[in-house]
Amino acid sequence: MTSLSNIQQGISRSGAVAAPYEQALFAELQMAMDFYDRAPDALIQILHRAQELFGYLREDVIRYIAHELRLPISQVYGVIGFYSFFSRVPQGKHTINVCTGTACYVRGAETVLRAFEKELGIRNGQTTADGRFSLRCARCVGACGLAPVAMVGDRVHGQLKSNEIKKLLKAYK
């Protein structure tokens, strides 16, 4: 098990010094924690920042956060498990969130989802083998006027038709 002080210094389990890139990420995370005075009630906000920085919530990052906020690690895992926004597995470069809210459902979100699945060759919740795309369902992204909708990263694509999915994905390749 990597000791916490080692993590801070960027030393990994095998004893090798982590890339400067990793150290920079931890430094950024520390800044976020300083902003909230390491208060335990800021846990969700800090996890958001950690996921933004690392792409997902890695075990060593979770341990580090629990230690710094003086929270039992079980509580941190409990929070991560509760909220659907947090992920403990790496995500693809682009996360596709197909909206399955009511307005999109009424206007054929299911067909859109199936078109994505067919085009990417993965099921909902999976990531493509090349790590480019993760496919997920979102519960309403609040763009109901444009239903059916999918978000790729932060970008909303509206009024989708199942035969346009191929073209849409090409723009992200």
């Binding site: 958001h48 509580q75 929070v79 009511t102 459902y105 009424v106 206007r107 519960r139 309403c140």
Partner: protein, 627 residues
């Protein structure tokens, strides 16, 4: 900044907004064009239609033509007609251009801004082809009354000067300058404002309870965790007019004696979070938030807390747990939040739209507000129109407007020659309103009487291609996913109801399934801990009440009248239309589509069909029929 300085600031700001309010200044005789303003909608929907590149194109073209001195470009919040994005308004003529792309920018600049001629083919047109020149002429806007959305689509949400010019922070000024906290609460009680989050509890009573609560530490929370699928009112208000919500919270803090506020926003709304952050820092710079606000003794700070994707966090006790950084699980009530809320201190939680109603109430008086709408549900309500409706988007109407007016006069009715079947309000806690109740006035009590609820204002229209059993299944699936798992009636009850509904949609239901479903719906509603479980059976109950025969068709005849439930569909091929191309046969995963021996046509074997619908989708000649 002091109260007096704020007054002077507003006078200055008002002058700079004159053009937008229809008062055009005289243009100089040597000017190449008249003074105008171009308002590009930067609401959520227009952002995804590419409003940023339209705005950039305007900047470029105006620069090239040397008109930047005369034409000001403003990126505003949501105009409301979300299906017509990108929406561009030209002031002071108030001309509204729809579906504007980068390519159209040059024409608008040259023809309208330079030569003063309206570009007719970019206007929105009525069905008979008659163009609407301004927003006010469009039926979509004509029947609306904007109180909460008065600034949406008119001002730049990222510019505090423009909010100030629209009498922003005037209500705060009025409260701090001459009203005792008690008077503020009384004004709110007189307005009769009811919480816009769904429950419809009197906001004034809530504030009164917090004001009466003992202790120096109290909290004000704004619930911006708009989780109902199909609702985007709060998102729009936050993105279009964030200062209005801050002002409402500041007044709430003053009236109740709280000194700290939290805004709990969904992580799914990054743009709203960004605009709120900008607004808070602008207000802080001007002494409108923080210590000694406007030179008085009143101190109030506002912090944003971002949610992480849990619908149950819209429930007030769960929301507070989440603000405290814990799992968002509800607590039994009492104690109510006004007694023991956030960090165990007295707290009030109101929805975004509730706070957005506060500044105009304080500005114009509670009596003014109570005269809008109906006596028991005063004021206006913002609805998010979506689904199978011609004009989707955000509308604000007085309470008591009938569903028919909303769907047909404003929404333009159901498109593609289909007929109206039901309107769904209140999200997963609400119900479906059938066509025979189209004349029901939309207010808290009338909706409850017909088995639905107002909810936060999402209104989804369904046409005859929607299966009401599948709609109920859809919402139950949502509740199963979002149940926090703390209390068994909700955790197990929703799952069992989902199983039953799924069996019905697959034609595998037992004959007594409906009675069993109704029984379980009653138990879940009665025994669940929080609002999520208590209201989870509502979609089932209302569809059973109004569309029972559809359930029976599924159970008894194994037939889905709307043709939605896949397992109940039977596919066949119309031999007259079949060209024998063989696409369907190749697509069929069960290999049950065969060629006739003597003809170059195909037929489908009924046994072995996996109901995937591939044949129906691949056929280019509409020869595959589904029943």
């Amino acid at each position: 900044m002091t109260l007096k300085e704020l007054y002077e600031w507003r006078e200055q700001a008002k002058a700079s907004l004159a053009l937008r309010l229809g008062k055009a200044p005289e243009s100089r005789p040597d000017a190449p064009c008249a003074y105008r303003e171009v308002l590009v909608c930067a609401g959520g929907a227009c952002v995804s239609c590419g409003c940023a590149s339209v705005a950039t194109a305007f900047r470029e073209v105006l620069g090239q033509r040397g008109l930047r001195e005369y034409v000001k470009l403003i990126e505003t919040g949501c105009v409301g007609c979300c299906d017509l994005g990108v929406v561009v308004q030209v002031m002071p003529d108030a001309v509204l251009y729809v579906k504007v792309t980068e390519k159209d920018v040059k024409r608008i600049v040259e023809e309208h801004l330079r030569d003063g001629k309206i570009v007719t083919d970019l206007l929105h047109k009525a069905e008979d082809g008659q163009p609407y020149r301004t927003a006010a002429e469009m039926p979509f806007f004509k029947h609306q009354l904007k109180v909460v959305l008065e600034n949406s689509g008119l001002i730049d949400p990222q510019n505090i000067d423009e909010y100030i010019a629209r009498d922003g922070y005037l209500a705060l000024q009025k409260a701090l300058g001459g009203m005792a906290p008690k008077q503020v609460v009384e004004e709110l009680l007189a307005s009769g404002l009811r919480g816009r989050g769904g429950g419809g509890f009197s906001a004034g009573v809530k504030w009164q309870m917090l004001a009466a609560a003992p202790g120096p530490t109290k909290y004000v929370i704004c619930n911006a965790d708009e989780g109902d699928p199909g609702a985007f009112m709060d998102r729009s208000v936050l993105e279009s007019d964030p200062h209005r919500v801050l002002e409402g919270m500041l007044i709430a803090g003053y009236a109740t004696g709280a000194s700290k506020g939290f805004i709990y926003v969904r992580a799914e709304y990054p743009l709203a979070i960004k605009r709120l952050q900008t607004a808070i820092s602008q207000a802080r710079d001007k002494d409108l938030i923080g210590e000694r606000i406007l030179g008085t003794d009143y101190c109030f700070d506002i912090e944003i807390r971002v949610g992480a994707g849990a619908f149950v966090c819209g429930e007030e006790t769960a929301l507070m747990a989440s603000v405290e950084g814990r799992r968002g699980m509800p607590q039994p009530r009492p104690p109510y939040p006004t007694q023991s809320g956030l960090y165990g201190k007295p707290t009030i939680i109101n929805n975004v739209e509730t706070y957005a109603n506060v500044p105009p109430i304080i500005r114009n008086g509670g009596k003014w507000f109570s005269q809008i709408g109906t006596p028991k549900s005063p004021g206006t309500k913002v609805f998010a129109l979506a689904g199978k409706i011609r004009n989707t988007g955000l509308v604000e109407v007085p309470m008591g407007t009938s569903l028919r007016q909303l769907v047909f006069d404003i929404g333009g009715g159901v498109p593609n020659g289909r007929t109206f079947k039901a309107a769904q309000t209140g999200g997963p806690s609400g119900g479906c309103i059938p066509a025979q109740h189209l004349d029901t006035p939309l207010d808290f009590d009338s909706l409850q009487a017909i088995g639905s609820i107002m909810g936060s204002g999402g209104l989804i229209v369904m046409d005859d291609s929607s299966c009401m059993v599948d709609v109920a299944r859809f919402f139950m699936d949502f509740c199963v996913d979002e149940s926090c798992g703390k209390c068994p009636p909700c955790r197990i009850g929703t799952r069992q109801m989902l199983h039953m509904l799924t069996r019905i949609t697959r034609g595998e239901a037992r004959p007594d399934e409906l009675e069993r479903l109704e029984g379980l719906a009653g138990v879940t509603a009665m025994a669940s801990l929080c609002g999520l479980g208590m209201t989870a059976p509502n979609p089932i109950r209302s569809t059973l009440q109004h569309f029972r025969e559809e359930y029976e068709a599924h159970i008894r005849d194994h037939r889905c009248p709307a043709g939605v439930c896949r397992q109940l569909l039977r596919y066949s091929i119309d031999v007259d239309k079949c060209t024998g191309c063989g696409l369907c046969a190749r697509a069929c995963p069960a290999a049950i589509i065969h060629k006739f021996d003597d003809k170059r046509k195909y037929w489908i074997e009924t046994d072995g069909c996996v109901h995937c619908g591939e044949c129906f989708e691949v056929c280019r000649f509409d020869a595959v029929l589904k029943q």
